[in-house]
Amino acid sequence: MKTIEHIPDQGILLFKTCMVTNEYPGIESSSTYAFDRLGVDYFVSDEQSCCTGLGFYFDLFDQLSTTAIAARNFAIAKKKGYPNITAMCSTCYAINKKACSLLNGNEEVRTKINSIFRQAGLDDLVYEQNSLDEVDNFYHVVEIFLSKAKRIGALNTIDLSGVRVAAHHACHYYKIHYDDVIGNPENPQLIDTIARSCGADVVEWYEDRTLTCGAGFSQRHINRETSLKVTHAKLESLKNAGVDLVLHMCPNCQIQYDRYQPVIEKEFGTKYDLVHMHISQFVALALGANPDKVCGFRTHSVPLDDFLNRLK
């Protein structure tokens, strides 16, 4: 069980994420901006690779290859002295935790992967059992922000009174390793608590709160119609609850909502007055970050200009 007292603010490896890198780079610059402002000790590595989660859940990557790639990233984190691997994406978080658990608990997998490293002359990547802990060394940025929610609220520069905010807690954060969720995995409150500390009017239970975003990895591509039906159902329930801003914690969900909202409006003949952002972008904005130069909102598909003007 992880509790809020467990959340570190030192030795954080901010784990880079493919969908942040390629789709919403502003999530990364917002995370580092917020960490700087909050005094979090972190490191971003140009050696760290993707977690392979996209390939894994597309059914292409196998568990051994995914675990071996994770072991390489773990070696980088340890070598640099930043062993608290902290993701901006819920899938990176889940993939890394599972890989660590296998490397610690499955001798055959650990031996196999270490022998691959040695044969390739990559001895410095060899994983030593229990050199990382699957609970104590793996976090999501939302947990770091939650542990500093009061401070964020005190430093908040934007007026969110009357702004209806709803959370979409990403499935791969709270449904896979449900024992390690801070709070009740049937009703996670991490994003809600942070938004509330900034004075937002938080909508707790909208109808489809726990429904997946609809991306479903290959579903978006091989079953596009079903994928969009799910997202449409969720957007409808957010609209019915009068939500203005949806906060995310996973770039894949953010693609599904922000990039596909205009597609759904066209294909389902409807209209949404809803904007989307990642919790890192929200915290950075609250702490006074520039919406374009730090938050990178220009890369979004649903424009945020009107929403941001409302906050002034």
Binding site: C18, N22, E47, D59, D62, I69, T212
Partner: protein
């Protein structure tokens, strides 16, 4: 020593066993404590499932067929409707995980060849990842996104490096000290060998389908 399996690369995700339930239990993709034998067919999974809400997919029934060792479930098209959202995994009162069960079934289906058409557009993904250490969507997916999204998105994608640099971010690809680490690791696990084999089967199948059509049968 763990009971989880060994052997060829496929042996880790789909170990050779007598029954489907054993394969599921011994697969590296599933939790060590997976409660497939404990399933009481309560249906909490199906009641919570987004795929069941919008399609014919029924995780309770899929698990039942695995428990009964009904191998036809491997070829059941509905297994490709799961979102991997893990809601069933969270809700199951017996620590079973239909979401993980389906991952193993899909791997079996890919190995058999019946599921190859679901991943054949992805083969390039591994090659790009080995080169730059970052996941990128393969061209076919990109084409769909180009159709779906507006010019604003395309313009952003074309200027990604510039946008990143304005945000104070560095290049996309990773630095690996010239050691080709990602490629070496994936060669070591047998990833490329497996994908190469799958690619070959997929090509042969496409060819035979095409000649089938040409023959007009």
């Amino acid at each position: 020593m763990s009971e989880k399996a060994t052997g060829t690369l496929s042996g880790y995700d789909t170990p050779e066993c007598e029954t489907l339930a054993e394969i599921v239990k011994r697969s590296l993709r599933t939790s060590d404590s997976i409660g497939i034998d404990r399933c009481i067919q309560c249906g909490a999974c199906t009641a919570s499932c987004p795929a069941a809400r919008f399609t014919d997919y029924n995780p309770r029934e899929i698990v039942k067929r695995v428990m009964e060792n009904d191998c036809s479930v491997i070829g059941d098209e509905t297994i490709w409707n799961c979102f991997y959202c893990y809601t069933c995994h969270l809700r199951c009162p017996r620590n079973n995980s239909p979401s993980q069960v389906v991952q193993v079934l899909r791997q079996l289906s890919i190995n058999e060849g019946t599921g190859l058409d679901k991943i054949d557009m992805l083969f390039e993904y591994g090659i790009i990842f080995a080169e730059i250490g970052v996941s990128k969507l393969p061209p076919l997916f990109f084409e769909q996104m180009e159709t779906d999204f507006d010019e604003h998105w395309l313009e952003f994608k074309e200027n990604l490096d510039e946008v990143r640099s304005e945000l104070g971010l560095g290049p996309i690809g990773i630095r690996d000290n010239g050691r080709g680490e990602i490629r070496a690791i994936l060669e070591g696990t047998g990833f490329f060998e497996r994908v190469g084999r799958l690619e070959q089967t997929a090509t042969t199948e496409t060819d035979s389908k095409q000649s089938f059509r040409r023959d007009g049968k």
